[in-house]
């Protein structure tokens, strides 16, 4: 943007998405990075249950990266028009096609397997790119106040 024309309309649609967080994390930073995500998502206009849901979903991805993805990961959070997007990447061995294809809710007596299921359930969209070199999960939540989830 330039200041060349002082009479230009002040409402500008941003072309570059606004990056809010770009951080590496390991086990020791899980709680701290969740708090940062909460603050940034709230400042971006997410509130109430939709804020709680998005933060929990991101927490699950961070936890998966630390527990199954080689012990550390990378998180990016940014705003696109009308939505908040978060990407969590790790350098683990990837998620099997069988595991990824199974979208059923875990049985109530199982202590594991809830993380990815919850992340998908609690967000508006989830994309997973996984392979032997690692996993990248991108989740999205709408920011519009009149949006009804699912």
């Amino acid at each position: 943007m330039t200041n060349a024309d002082p009479h230009a309309p002040r409402t500008v649609v941003p072309i570059e998405p606004a990056l809010l967080i770009a951080e590496a994390f390991d086990q020791a930073q899980v709680t701290e990075i969740r708090h940062s995500v909460t603050s940034c998502a709230h400042a971006s206009g997410l509130a109430g249950q939709r804020l709680d849901d998005f933060v929990l979903a991101i927490n699950e991805l961070i936890t998966n990266a630390v527990r199954h993805g080689g012990g550390r990961g990378w998180l990016r959070l940014w705003v696109e028009p009308g939505m908040l997007v978060c990407e969590v990447a790790d350098h683990g061995h990837g998620i099997s096609a069988q595991r990824l294809g199974d979208r059923r809710r875990p049985a109530p007596d199982t202590a594991g397997g809830w993380g990815l299921w919850l992340a998908r359930e609690l967000t508006d969209a989830m994309e997973v790119a996984t392979g032997a070199a690692g996993t990248t999960v991108r989740i999205t939540t709408a920011l519009a106040s009149n949006h009804t989830p699912h």
């Binding site: 086990q27 899980v30 701290e32 249950q49 929990l56 936890t63 109530p108 007596d109 359930e121």
Partner: protein, 118 residues
């Protein structure tokens, strides 16, 4: 981050009061306390969640494992007084009834027949 866990015998149950955020950093602490209680033969547990401000799948796993162990030993696990966010993860995962969730500690201790979810 810290979690505090306090236990108190009330009638035939042990009330386990948990305060703080339950995530992968703190869940092992709660797990240790539960293992300790089970080792002492305590298998009727009520978890007071009034001061738990956050619970993720790691926390959920601790409660599911506790329920499985207590069931096996002929005991019971009940949850009490979850805040909005904690109730949310229990609802989404379909565990409100499975984990016998009550609105108050007193109701959970009494173990009234129809647990309420809100």
């Amino acid at each position: 981050m810290s979690l505090t866990v306090h236990t108190e015998q009330r009638g035939d149950v042990v009330v386990v009061s948990v305060a703080g955020e339950l995530d992968m950093a703190t869940a092992p602490q709660l797990q240790d306390q539960i293992t300790d209680l089970l080792d002492k033969g305590r298998n009727r547990l009520v978890f007071d969640l009034a001061d738990v401000s956050f619970c993720d799948s790691t926390g959920l796993s601790v409660f599911v494992r506790a329920k499985n162990s207590c069931d096996e030993a002929g005991g019971v696990v009940r949850l009490a007084a979850p805040q909005r966010g904690v109730l949310r993860i229990l609802e989404v995962s379909g565990l409100v009834e499975v984990l016998h969730t009550y609105p108050t500690v007193d109701q959970a201790v009494a173990g009234e027949p129809s647990p309420a979810s809100s």
